[in-house]
Symmetry: C2
Subunit: 331 residues, 2 copies
Amino acid sequence: MKKIINDPNQAVSDMLQGIVAAYPDSVKQLEGTTVVVRKDAPVAGKVAIVSGGGSGHEPAHAGYVGKGMLDAAVCGEVFTSPAPDQVLEAIKATDSGKGVFLVIKNYSGDVMNFEMAMEMAEAEGIQVEKVVVNDDVAVEDSEFTTGRRGIAGTIFVHKIAGAKAEAGGSLEEVKAVAEKVVANVRSMGMALTPCTVPAAGTPSFHLEENEMEIGIGIHGEAGIERKPIASADEIANELMEHVLHDLPYRKGDEVAVMVNGLGATPEMELYIINKKVQEILKETGINVHRAFVGNFMTSLEMAGCSVTLLKMDDELKTLLDAPSSTPAFCF
Amino acid sequence: MKKIINDPNQAVSDMLQGIVAAYPDSVKQLEGTTVVVRKDAPVAGKVAIVSGGGSGHEPAHAGYVGKGMLDAAVCGEVFTSPAPDQVLEAIKATDSGKGVFLVIKNYSGDVMNFEMAMEMAEAEGIQVEKVVVNDDVAVEDSEFTTGRRGIAGTIFVHKIAGAKAEAGGSLEEVKAVAEKVVANVRSMGMALTPCTVPAAGTPSFHLEENEMEIGIGIHGEAGIERKPIASADEIANELMEHVLHDLPYRKGDEVAVMVNGLGATPEMELYIINKKVQEILKETGINVHRAFVGNFMTSLEMAGCSVTLLKMDDELKTLLDAPSSTPAFCF
């Protein structure tokens, strides 16, 4: 295992201190927790947006804490759901009385623990609503998930729900627009290499030197198929084939596009994928409102990428384009 | 070689098309060249900032083209200096009559080709000035370089010279502030793994499973020492030891910090390095004006990181904090 860490069991704790040390004016760690919150939390008169999940997907989710996106990110151990009491701490620290909205990636552990925290918070008189993001079209039901997994499309939920909350939206309004994003966002990924959870010390799966996996999950869960590495154009074609036909996205639609790196993918390769993705969209007659290319939802040092499409309407465009200011997303 | 590419010899060309396809409203590719320019170039009344070099370091440099940073990035083949005629095209396309300023990383090929383009442009009546960035304290003279190499500190030169130009600075004023950055910026890097140039197909060097290289260059040039992988704290200590004592940075100084990933490093590990870097600065009595953690100057899929310090004064702080809007840097 080649990693720049200290004690593998302290990696998340060290990371959280490193995040707060980098942005001491904008975020803080709730004492005795693994929760990163906006330094000005609770923000008066604003619905709070809380997300989180296992660590190892950085910049998700702590990198999205800030004005216009998340009020708090609850950070579990690597690829491990955070416990309900941690989620509860995030809810209590961010609620200004206007309610808290939870953005949950669809993994059984995350859903269970965030929902349990929701009940605990409601018992304390805090209004809480939630959305479960399940944008990965690759597989129904997999290793850690009933139904479809939540992957990079989650960032669009953060951004758009965050903008709605920042603009003064009520808890119901924030929930409605988040559900609209979930209804219109689809993703799929692929990997060339596995990754290694620090505390485990060995790769979570094996791919041959000439092999790739299509439809892989962000924890290395099985995808659709393993086969010889294809060209970038063929990979883009295959991912887009699945994503486009799922909603489906149609001629005349307008979309936001995210080409996301899984951690160890040179940015050059993400742009090569984007070239073909944009060509396919053009040929299909789909207009691109905006494109995002980079590392947004990673899997430690996995090499690979995912492609996400979000079908836009005027409301979503306005909210996606609203200013935000977070370490990882400042568009 | 596990890469998401088409023809290895078309990787840079494909990438450039993918960049322009991602941000068609803000950048364009100069026809028949490998130059990415601001779409509104030449910007009237503004000194133009032009940088570039071999590709494979993305987001450097095309990701820094935009308001407040670069007017153009000249993109060579992977790890290969761009030819003088390409640099000349960038100069001609961005000059508004107020002159063009070249930011050159110190590699012999880059310096030679950018200087040749400078002479050609001057022969055509265009005012051109330059700065050569040599922030890497690891080694004097190496494989491709006479003197110290230019690495991630270059991003601070882009940002600060770019802000000065955007604020209406003259060519001489832009040059003066760029030279001030170069005089006050120092960096050093390390790697856990090599990277593979697509057209070569095999890694450019070899590290044993338990080995790291301290002081490595961004093309895999030899550093100071190969030795067993140390802890993140020990790595941060060693890099900071070299960087701090070089200028030297002293108690009471104020600095900007960049913890930069070389391409395949999980962001988690960069934050773990940042934790220790910030602790060392605090112990030394050095104040941090601002920190940047992420992939800013990469080496394809090399795993590793670099640490950069820039000693600040009021002018540098104002310019570093000025708004900019580019795909890779929007602070």
